[in-house]
Symmetry: C2
């Protein structure tokens, strides 16, 4: 089969500090800004390092007014603003101007947004598509012998997609855990550093015309979130993740398996209809969002061989693509 | 040898939420407030459950204005206040009125203040004395088969002691980790619940006249804190705990051992003169305090047999004790 030809990745953005207390990305971007050296081979992508939420970083909090990584929907980016508009909504527009505009030809080719989680998730790619061959090929290229790796798919339309990485033509979050927020652990930092380095290496090889063979990738598609049992009046949680589920992200959860342990010691079980894969188990930033864990279905996606278009092919394809968009 | 006779523990305070994002204590105290049942045997201590910093709890932050658990020095408790006085300083006075006054006959007999740490410290007692036989006996009584236990001594005078538990006639922090702040893990919650239950059981046995045999206890006395290497200008950290030291709290650190790994990948070693025991390794709340880890010296303390005074002995001893204080 002929490989799928795709435009080169000329501009790549690596973002840290979208959540100000997820410190691996903050310190990695700061380090890369210090040591930034432009490669001379002409094939490498131009890399833009971005600290997304400086105010939240300064306070070592997830956000100041509202979660920045929920502000990149079409509606929020294009809504009215006033003096009372939350800081993060203003900041999302700045970032959209810098890296986007979202959905336009001017947007950067690839956004990699760096995140940490308190959940024992290893290294995850999180993306809004299960057929973005660029993201899936990069994922497959990353070899991290000591770090479990998974690809998570949030099935949300481009218009409704809310994350920073949705600004790019391609984009994903690189989510690594477990790490407490406000903390840097050397093993997690090193895994992230290697992940970003491999991604940039891949972009260079891709841009230089390498052929990447197709194959199979396991994709975890998010099905639903499960909240903690809560007190009807105070909304305080009345239980936490069961000790037999804690840290077992991506281990299949069967109906009847222990799910929560109440603070008085009672076990509550999973009463779903089908076995599903749990992830973001006990992510501490999600208590306020009403998420104790998320559940996913696993499928196997066949990805085609790909290679970058030559400049000529690119111009031709780009004209065709935007022409067909206009027809839609 | 005759046992040391000590006053009964009539009033015990169990405090949670002194740091609003250390959630094991928050949820344990809430649970105990719900299920509180006064024991009928007459020997049990009266137990006061306290949520120390409700405003910080509400925001799920360590503190609102300043660290409450540094506000209990003689100077802070007795300094001037105004409209601009930080919330936690006002709250420390309320707690001192409720559980103290610190250093007075009216103070509660025992304060147990519940804390979490992101460090891999197991269950620690932290106290300002290495010769408080009550605290040391309670520590020795706790049997937690799955939880490593240590006794840490901060050698600070009563006047300079800054923690909530210094209000009580006896007092200690029960510090358990690792747990991210803002998160509850069932194993850590359960260890804390059992620790508190054992402590209250011990107080009941002690009050009922049981003799507790003397013996030996290992005590880790804090020697010094070590800060992260920092950028001279920004004060940002330039390294984090070395992967070979991370999570190895209470494993002897020798001169020349790896201490930090810089964000560029360089190893920095421990250049102290003597081997010491590290603890609070990578506690995330201490980044702002300039503490990457603390170092302790271990010693073995001989504790005597103890039993509670009878009411008659108590009155007699109390009169003598306060008379001798007045002489000093």
């Amino acid at each position: 089969m002929r490989p799928v030809l795709l435009p080169r990745l000329c501009r790549v953005a690596v973002c840290g500090g979208t959540h100000g207390n997820e410190l691996s990305g903050v310190y990695l971007v700061r380090e890369m800004l210090k040591t930034e050296t432009r490669r001379e081979d002409g094939e490498s992508a131009s890399v833009l390092m971005v600290l997304s939420n400086p105010r939240a970083m300064q306070q070592c909090r997830r956000y100041v007014d509202t979660d920045l990584n929920r502000c990149f929907t079409h509606a929020t980016l294009n809504g009215p603003v006033s003096d009372g508009t939350p800081y993060e909504i203003m900041r999302s527009r700045e970032l959209n101007a810098m890296l986007g505009p979202k959905g336009s030809r001017a947007a950067v080719d690839l956004v990699c947004d760096l995140h940490n989680t308190t959940a024992n998730m290893g290294l995850c790619f999180i993306a809004y598509s299960d057929s973005d061959w660029i993201c899936l090929h990069i994922f497959r290229y990353l070899q991290m012998p000591d770090t479990p790796m998974r690809f998570i798919h949030f099935d949300v339309s481009n218009k409704e997609s809310y994350s920073l990485y949705s600004i790019g033509k391609h984009g994903f979050a690189m989510e690594i855990g477990p790490q407490p927020h406000g903390c840097v652990k050397s093993d997690i930092y090193t895994a992230m550093k290697e992940g970003v380095q491999h991604m940039l290496d891949w972009a260079g090889y891709f841009n230089s015309g390498c052929l990447f063979e197709g194959g199979l990738v396991d994709v975890f598609t998010m099905v639903k979130n499960v909240d903690y049992p809560r007190d009807g009046e105070t909304r305080n949680i009345m239980a936490t993740i069961h000790p037999r589920l804690q840290d077992r992200d991506f281990c299949l959860l069967h109906p009847g398996d222990p799910l929560f342990q109440t603070f008085s010691g009672e076990t509550l079980t999973y009463n779903g209809n089908e076995p599903l894969y749990p992830f973001f188990i006990n992510e501490c930033a999600y208590y306020e969002k009403g998420i104790a864990l998320s559940l996913a279905r696993k499928k196997c996606v066949t990805i085609p061989s790909i290679r970058a278009q030559t400049e000529e092919e690119e111009e031709q394809a780009s004209e065709q693509s935007f022409a067909s968009e206009e027809e839609e």
